[in-house]
């Protein structure tokens, strides 16, 4: 995989970025992604099972698109057991809280701190207040979060995975903020690009077929 490649139909440049989701359990992290990727919502969605990650392409302009490789926590955040691998090479993060649960906003702030400690210093972080369809039960004001986001240098958006409000806008805003400079991307990503000055990495799956003939002499 290269950092950018032509997508046949539009002959547009596509830039790959790893995006990680963070936030307390049950704030709607997976629902946001399912809404974004499949434009779907399920009221009784079980905790995340069975999906490693999704990919979705967002057009930025006529000649450029951003392809997000979206990693879900797989529930490993619940008991503070997210592996360092999760943050590794993440170029953008969506930190989600539930606007009806003020504790989830406090938790979101600790995730932002964790990202600043563990992740790439250039990571693009979006703070997202989900469930804004439940405005009557609002416990966190948008002003408060906007102020925090401005101070901390984060994108900020309130969304509803249920109604779909602002979900597309959120990812579009992130896409616009990504550095679309292939050289820079090459430097910064370990994954999906030829990292390191010495030699590209090896592709395990690709070469398996070639080596099935037992004796390779």
């Amino acid at each position: 995989m290269s950092a950018h490649r032509n997508s046949g139909a539009q002959a547009a440049k596509v830039f790959n970025f790893k995006l990680v989701l963070l936030g307390e359990s049950a704030v709607g992290k997976s629902s946001l992604v399912v809404r974004f990727v499949k434009d779907q919502f399920d009221d009784y969605r079980e905790s995340t099972i069975g999906a490693a990650f999704f990919t979705q392409v967002v057009p930025v302009d006529d000649s450029t698109s951003v392809k997000f490789e979206i990693w879900d926590t797989a529930g490993q955040e619940r008991y503070k057991s997210l592996a360092p691998m999760y943050y590794r090479n993440a170029q953008c993060a969506v930190v989600v809280y539930d606007i009806t649960q003020s504790a989830s906003f406090e938790k979101a702030k600790t995730w932002v701190k964790e990202l600043q400690r563990q992740a790439d210093p250039d990571i693009v972080i979006a703070l997202v207040g989900n469930k804004n369809d439940l405005a009557s039960r609002r416990a966190v004001t948008a002003e408060e979060c906007q102020t925090y986001a401005d101070e901390t240098g984060l994108l900020f958006q309130e969304t509803s995975a249920k109604t779909g409000a602002n979900v597309g806008d959120l990812f579009k805003a992130i896409a616009k903020k990504m550095p679309l400079d292939s050289q820079k991307q090459n430097q910064r990503t370990g994954r999906n690009s030829s990292s390191g000055p010495t030699r590209p990495t090896v592709d395990l799956s690709g070469s398996e077929a070639a080596s099935t003939g037992n004796c390779a002499c």
Binding site: T55, Y79, M85, T198, R199, S211, C215
Partner: protein, 450 residues
């Protein structure tokens, strides 16, 4: 955690994480616990803070070493052979998706006071300074024999019966000198002692083929290594397990293992909390009364600011000192990786020197290895017991993994995984290819339409 599970897994070492992942994929409800606040147990890769917590009672690492997060220091040194079974487990489960591998640049062997490259094929063998002129012809004949062998074609057997003859007999049949036997058995078949000579030749044959076919796969050496250290492997399989519903709890002490009246495993207690399951899998450290010590390994993790001398200034190396070269019973292994594998800061190198302990002064035993490294910036020495379970778990439903041995690859770990899998589930492990991410997403999208 107060719930019932199918299986509780204790410790997040590689063996435990692979099993947890495989069982979760099959629909088992798994609770996976580790007393440490990091993944990997004894097969973890640590950052500087964790490393100094473990070896220097929490003292601060020198600032000159660079950033904490640039370090992923393996506790046990291993390289993955490109064609070994663990690679198939990685590709079939699509865990490769989370990982990136690089080749190890070269494999070397110490002989008669010199470091030489291990020939990767018969072409290299006949030009290698390791082998004497007349011996080269014999070695070439032997390597051709190994690679042409077909079980069902007696004309390829040269009168050898791999299952009934000892390896020493096969070597003698080809007239190979002790030095060549040493080189084949230790640098290519990767035996750490000489017991293989008197075992059925088939075992050595399989390992030589593994070596040769692994070299053929990527070229420079038979080995590959994951960027960010070996600790990525357990993390990858833990993620697989979590994706299929496995529950993860790090930093969770296990206060007690609970048994029923018949002595069968019933559950675990952590502080005031309890969790129940029919079976438990765990590493030896969670079951001190149910394991025995069969040996000890001494390992010295060395931080260097230069490549290992006399290896051609390459970034990653395996270097084997065969036992006979230094009058020992067990080989000394050196595994070196560097900043180019994202395991330490720029311009640093990490070399681990290890061997099976034979004396009362283990640190002295690795001296021949340490002396080949040049100046050592910092050194962390540990001696670990190799523990194995006393029983197979059928009686008490407690399935304990073996400690990581001194071997340089993952073959014995994979054997243990297969074995435990069979004892836990009653079935042989059959690797089924999991849908890749693209296929998964496509099938979910298709489901939405219908």
């Amino acid at each position: 955690m107060e719930e019932n599970y199918d299986v509780i897994v204790l410790g997040t070492g590689l063996t435990e994480c692979v099993l947890s992942g495989l069982l979760s994929v099959e629909g088992k409800k798994v609770l996976h616990i580790d007393r440490n606040d990091y993944y990997g147990g004894e097969s973890a890769s640590l950052n500087l803070t964790q490393l100094y917590r473990r070896f220097r009672s929490g003292a601060d690492a020198p600032e000159s070493f660079g950033r904490d997060r640039d370090y992923n220091v393996d506790l046990i040194p291993k390289f993955m052979m490109a064609n070994e079974e663990l690679v198939r487990v990685l590709t079939h489960t699509d865990v490769t998706r989370y990982l990136e591998f690089k080749q190890i640049d070269g494999s070397f062997v110490y002989r008669d006071g010199r470091i030489s490259k291990v020939p990767a094929n018969e072409m290299e063998a006949v030009t290698s300074p390791l082998i004497g002129l007349f011996e080269k012809r014999r070695l070439k004949k032997f390597l051709e024999f190994i690679q042409n062998w077909k079980d069902d074609d007696a004309s390829t057997h040269n009168g050898v019966d791999l299952d009934r003859m000892q390896m020493i007999e096969v070597f003698k049949k080809f007239g190979l000198e002790t030095g060549t036997q040493d080189f084949l058995g230790h640098a290519m078949a990767l035996y750490t002692d000489d017991e293989f000579l008197h075992r059925p030749a088939r075992e050595t044959y399989d390992r030589l083929i593994l070596y040769v076919s692994s070299v053929a796969r990527y070229g420079k050496s038979p080995y590959i290594y994951p960027l960010y250290g070996l600790g990525e492997l357990p993390q990858g399989f833990a993620r697989l397990s979590a994706i299929y519903g496995g529950t993860y709890m790090l930093d969770k002490p296990v206060s007690e293992i609970l048994y029923d009246d018949e002595g069968k495993f019933k559950g675990i207690r952590s502080g005031d909390e309890k969790a129940y399951a029919k079976q438990v899998i765990g590493d030896p450290s969670y079951f001190p009364g149910k394991v025995k010590t069969v040996g000890r390994v001494v390992r010295a993790i060395c931080l260097l600011q230069h490549p290992i001398p006399n290896t051609g200034d390459i970034n990653s190396v395996q270097l084997i000192i065969p036992q006979k070269q230094v009058n020992r019973k067990n080989d000394i292994y050196i595994a070196c990786v560097s900043a180019s594998h994202n395991v330490c800061a720029k311009d640093y190198y990490l070399a681990i020197v290890s061997t099976i302990v034979e004396t009362e002064i283990p640190e002295k035993e690795i001296l021949p290895g340490l002396q080949l490294l040049g100046p050592i910036t910092e050194k962390f020495v540990s001696v670990s017991d190799i523990n194995v379970p006393l029983e197979d778990g059928t009686k008490d439903q407690v399935f304990i993994s073996k400690s990581y041995d001194a071997s340089s690859h993952f073959v014995s770990i994979m054997e243990d995984i297969r074995d435990i899998y069979k004892r836990v589930t009653g079935d042989e492990l059959v690797l089924k290819r999991r849908p890749r991410q693209e296929e998964e997403q496509a099938s979910m999208a298709a489901g939405q339409v219908s």
